[in-house]
Amino acid sequence: MDFSSFVTGTDLRLIAPMAIVASMGVAVLMLEVFHKSDASRKYIAWMSILGLGVAGLDSAYLLMRGAQHEAFGGMLHIDSFALVINLLIILAGILACLASPAYLASHRIDRGEYYSLLLFSAVGMMTMGAAADLFTMFMGLEMMSIPIYCLAAFFRHSSRSAESGMKYFILGAFSSAFLLYGIALIYGMTGTTDLEGIRVEMAAGGFFVQGNPVDQLATLPALAMILLIVAFGFKVAAVPFHMWTPDVYEGAPSSVVSFMSTAVKTAGFAALVRVFVVGFFDQPARLSDTGWLVVFFWLAILSMALGNVVAIVQTNVKRMLAYSSIAHAGYLLVGFVAASHSAENFEGMQSVVFYLLAYTFATVGAFAVLAYFGKRGEECTTFDDLAGIGTRHPGAALAMTIFMLSSAGIPPTAGFVAKFYVFRAAVMTGSTEFVVLAVVGVMLSLAGVYYYLKLIVSMYMKTARREVTAIGGVEMKMALVICAAATLFFGIFPSMGLDLAKTSVHGIIGAPPAVKAALASPAKATVKLELEPTAEP
């Protein structure tokens, strides 16, 4: 760390997106004080959207200007990766804010804190995406998590929701402790918390048992890394750290879950990329028998297998989506490990970013549809509740169908391109294990098709057992339309999203030199139209 530089104007300019969202959070909190108790809080939602929107525009502006800066003496890296992650988080935030007002009003939990909690959490996530130091990473993680715990328990009168918040909090506190302990060990070994510094120190080799081929990775660094893996595995809901997911998703308000299931995952994966690629990319840490690549490889398989298989037997749509989000974490990990296989394959990290984009639209949309039905603390979340909405509420059902098809990876939706891209990254490594990983993933995603279809069957092909009330609300409908349209748009014209993903991956400031060199070499996968000259007319 460089203590000689104080906070400069440039630093403040660079964290403007976070600062805007944070100040809007404070402003919303203040507004709540002056709010008349029974009036609608729609305007608070719109103010939050405004704050997020301005932050998003600023991120996009910085991205277009090609900002690649270190801020706060190297504690934050405001590079294209951080900015694209910002955009994804802001997107999830805006969509969740759109889905919220009508939902909160109908369930009588319409309070202004909701939006400020959501905004503060978004700031934490954005910090995680930009963190270049384990301390900023930890700070971001806590700033993200604590508001989310509160949001999960936002149904104050529902014991389910309280349980959900409590469970999430206690397990989350454990994972934070793991993270801290891991950081402490690493600091003890390397004398720094700066991620690039850690890589350099580790490469210098003080901590690896030199010249001993059997014990390539010494115990202490391995232990430290395992602690980090546990902490981040918890946040992205990878098996075996997924236990909290179904209960929390089921108990928390649907509009919260729409934000929590997507933005937290985005932040978690951004953190994985930052920590493991920037910090631990050297050969022994990554590639030895106990290196993190192997661990994530198995986490990917386990997550896909457990998520997809257990989702099949669920009767509650929220739980089904929770298990499916575990499976999605598995697919994302496939892209992550494939891209980390070697420096040459790092290009494949784009697949993770694009997957997050597709996942955000489909998942926010799906939970928004669930939020669309039910009132006064009673949600319509079982398959039976949703039976027959195809006739009663064709618009919502059509949107849900698109989200389910996207989650299942069926063209022409964004989910198909995303899955395709992830498995492509795996096959591209050329190693047999990864091809097997791709085949396993493809086969398990087939099981996924079954439970997504089951929901469509309920909606269209079964008759309603009871009348479901739709909440309606212009904002909610806007959220659904945006999600559905974007899911189809990125399915048919994925180029824009892929370009964005490419930009993000190419601009990681602290990336190891080998990765940078591989990325700088001319793009491999560009196609040329090969037209043979027309034969004589």
């Binding site: 195809g390 006739t391 064709p394 098809l405 069926i410 063209p411 022409p412 198909f416 391109v417 395709f420 891209y421 498995f423 492509r424 096959v427 591209m428 050329g430 091809v435 791709a438 085949v439 493809v442 086969m443 995603s445 087939l446 098709v449 079954y450 279809l453 089951k454 469509i456 069957v457 269209y460 092909m461 994925p494 180029s495 892929l498 370009d499 490419k502 793009a523 491999k524 996968a525 560009t526 196609v527 040329k528 139209l529 090969e530 037209l531 043979e532 000259p533 027309t534 034969a535 004589e536 007319p537």
Partner: protein, 619 residues
């Protein structure tokens, strides 16, 4: 360089239904009549737009997509996802041309048939049908593997809804089974496509999904085995070939009439079409090795499908199993790898589309009136509904393969083609049929297939007899209404096409010739290699053959086995450039249309006489 015709006619053909579906979304759902008429109009317009495709003449001058497809016409090419090497590349040749036209032709017929049959959620129904039409047409014209896969999957979704929403009592089971079965195959195919994709491209490493680029990939025989296995499984499930057929009867019986017609008429052909366009040309060596196995499954399908059809009590199930039998002919003709076999196979696809489509429509008509499809509920309907009886009879004959009608030509060509085949024998050490070499193997397969024709006549005519002839026992049938004008209007095109295809098959076959020749030529080196090896096998003395019949050698069956001597001979032949059969320089030497020798005619006549007997009611 004028690469495409000025008007993007194929794009218009493919996306006209999609446009129609989008327009329909904005219609109020109460306006059922308006919705139906609009859908009909869109389908008719789609058919009209596709008619200019008939100007295709099979010449090779349109070659713009690489030497892999010298006969491709109406080609359109645009970048789609540049970073992944995906192009929007479409075109038709003599093979896909007819399937495209079949699809657009069946479109209006299907829509018209649903005017009375579908009365709930008409809007959604029509949207599904139109989307399905778009998916099927897209898959037929795609020349880019990614594009093909996208359309291939898009087809599934509307069909899933058609069965699941408007289907019978067990529709959930049927529709999910249909979806999952197809997905299993498709995903394996996707992995194979990816593998090929990563092996495309030259020194600059630019990968491409274009089919032509994939054909240029060099693969070892073992890799071909795996890759072709993945493709073949996907297509075999779709066809469906014998052990993978179990989804079909469920799907057919549960689907609404229109769904069954499309399923049988076009969707099943996607499997055989996929084999011709993708599976087989990509992996010739694997194909010749798999050919006898696939042919075995095909003839099992032919005979098994026919036998099971014979004992069905439900007319619709009977027709569904008849599809298994007919599609067996398609596959058999394909793997025979002779020009006649392949052309016959394509012809069977078309004829099956017309005939089986017609059968399902006819079944639908009775079902609408009586709400049952059990054969035992009927009998003696001829007297009550004479017009229906006439039309139904012609369609039954078309399906059964009566000469002069569509069904006959294709099956006959397939049988001749199979008899000429040089690859339908098991390479080595197979204790099964056909160990004696190419001729014997081909003869055995042709013979079994021929018995399938007879069985086909049996179950169809027997069904017809039980439903239409005999005394009018059931009083519920006494007041059946005969066909109304609308029903006659949509049945007549099928009847007419049945006659046109049966009487003037050359109209159809002529446009296929060059494309089918290209296909067979591509397979030729592999065929010659296998034939050379086979002659070798047959020529070996008894002593060397005996041990290979041991049970322990069974596992070796089906491996790419070119005996050492055979390989040497092939190499010599190749060096001498004798093996390059390439394009037939003189098109006059090949049979332009089916010409029967007196012997064949006699044999055929015998066949027909026999065919009439068990039915009891010779036409």
């Amino acid at each position: 360089m004028d690469v495409s015709v000025s008007f993007p006619i194929l794009t218009a053909v493919v996306f006209a239904p999609l446009l129609g579906a989008i327009v329909l979304m904005f219609f109020p759902k109460e306006e059922k009549g308006l919705i139906r008429n609009t859908a009909l109009f869109v389908m008719l317009a789609g058919f009209a737009i596709s008619l200019p495709l008939l100007t295709y003449d099979g010449s090779v001058q349109h070659s713009v997509v690489g030497s892999a497809f010298p006969t491709m016409a109406f080609v359109e090419q645009h970048q789609w996802i540049e970073s992944m090497g995906v192009t929007y590349l479409i075109g038709v040749d003599g093979i896909s041309l007819w399937l495209v036209l079949l699809t657009t032709f069946l479109g209006p017929v299907v829509v018209l048939s649903t005017y009375s049959a579908v009365d709930t959620r008409v809007k959604e129904f029509m949207i599904c049908i139109l989307l399905l039409q778009c998916g099927m047409l897209g898959a037929l014209v795609s020349l880019d593997a990614f594009l093909f896969y996208v359309f291939w999957e898009i087809m599934l979704v509307p069909m899933y809804f058609l069965i699941g929403v408007w289907g019978g009592n067990q529709r959930f089971y049927a529709t999910i089974k249909f979806f999952l079965y197809t997905m299993v195959g498709s995903l394996l195919m996707l992995v194979a496509i990816l593998w090929l994709y990563f092996h495309t491209g030259g020194a600059d490493g630019a990968h491409s999904f274009s089919l032509a680029a994939m054909m240029a990939v060099e693969t070892t025989p073992e890799q071909q085995m795996w890759l072709f296995g993945a493709f073949a499984l996907a297509f075999a499930i779709k066809v469906p070939m014998f052990p993978f057929h179990t989804w079909l009867p469920h799907a057919h019986v549960q689907a609404p009439t229109a769904g069954s017609v499309i399923l049988a008429g076009v969707l099943l052909k996607m499997g055989t079409y996929g084999l011709i366009r993708y599976g087989m040309p990509l992996f010739p060596q694997a194909v010749v090795e798999f050919a006898p196995w696939m042919a075995t499954l095909a003839v099992i399908g032919i005979v098994y499908g026919a036998l099971v059809a014979m004992v069905q009590k439900d007319v619709k199930k009977l027709v569904a199993y008849s599809s298994v039998s007919h599609l067996g002919f398609c596959v058999l003709g394909l793997v025979a790898l002779t020009t006649q076999g392949v052309e016959g196979s394509i012809f069977v696809m078309l004829a099956h589309g017309i005939a089986t489509g017609g059968l399902f429509l006819a079944v639908g008509i009775i079902y609408e009136r009586r709400h049952t499809r059990l054969i035992s509920e009927f009998g003696g309907l001829t007297k009550v509904v004479p017009v229906f009886a006439t039309i139904f009879m012609i369609i039954v004959f078309t399906s059964a393969g009566l000469p002069g009608l569509a069904g006959f030509v294709g099956e006959f060509l397939v049988i001749i083609g199979t008899g000429d085949s040089q690859v339908l024998f098991f390479s080595e050490s197979a204790p099964l049929i056909g160990d004696a070499g190419p001729e014997t193997g081909a003869f055995i397969f042709a013979t079994i297939a021929a018995t399938g024709v007879i069985f086909g006549a049996v179950y169809l005519l027997w069904m017809f007899q039980r439903v239409m002839f005999g005394p009018l026992k059931n009083p519920k049938n006494e007041n059946l209404k005969d066909l109304n004008l609308r029903e006659v209007v949509y049945m007549m095109p099928l009847v007419i096409m049945g006659f046109v295809m049966g009487l003037f098959p050359h109209l159809f076959l002529d446009k296929m010739h060059t494309s089918v020749d290209t296909f067979v030529d591509r397979m030729q080196p592999a065929i010659m290699a296998k034939a050379a090896a086979g002659t070798e096998t047959a020529g070996r003395d008894e002593a060397s053959r005996v041990p290979t019949n041991k049970l322990s050698d069974l596992g070796k069956v089906g491996r790419p086995t070119l005996s050492k001597a055979g390989a040497e001979r092939l190499k010599k032949l190749q060096e001498a450039d004798k093996i390059k059969p390439a394009r037939r320089t003189n098109p006059g030497t090949r049979p332009k249309k089916v010409t029967l020798t007196p012997d064949q005619k006699k044999k055929l006549f015998k066949d027909l006489k026999f065919r009439g007997q068990p039915s009891g009611g010779t036409p």
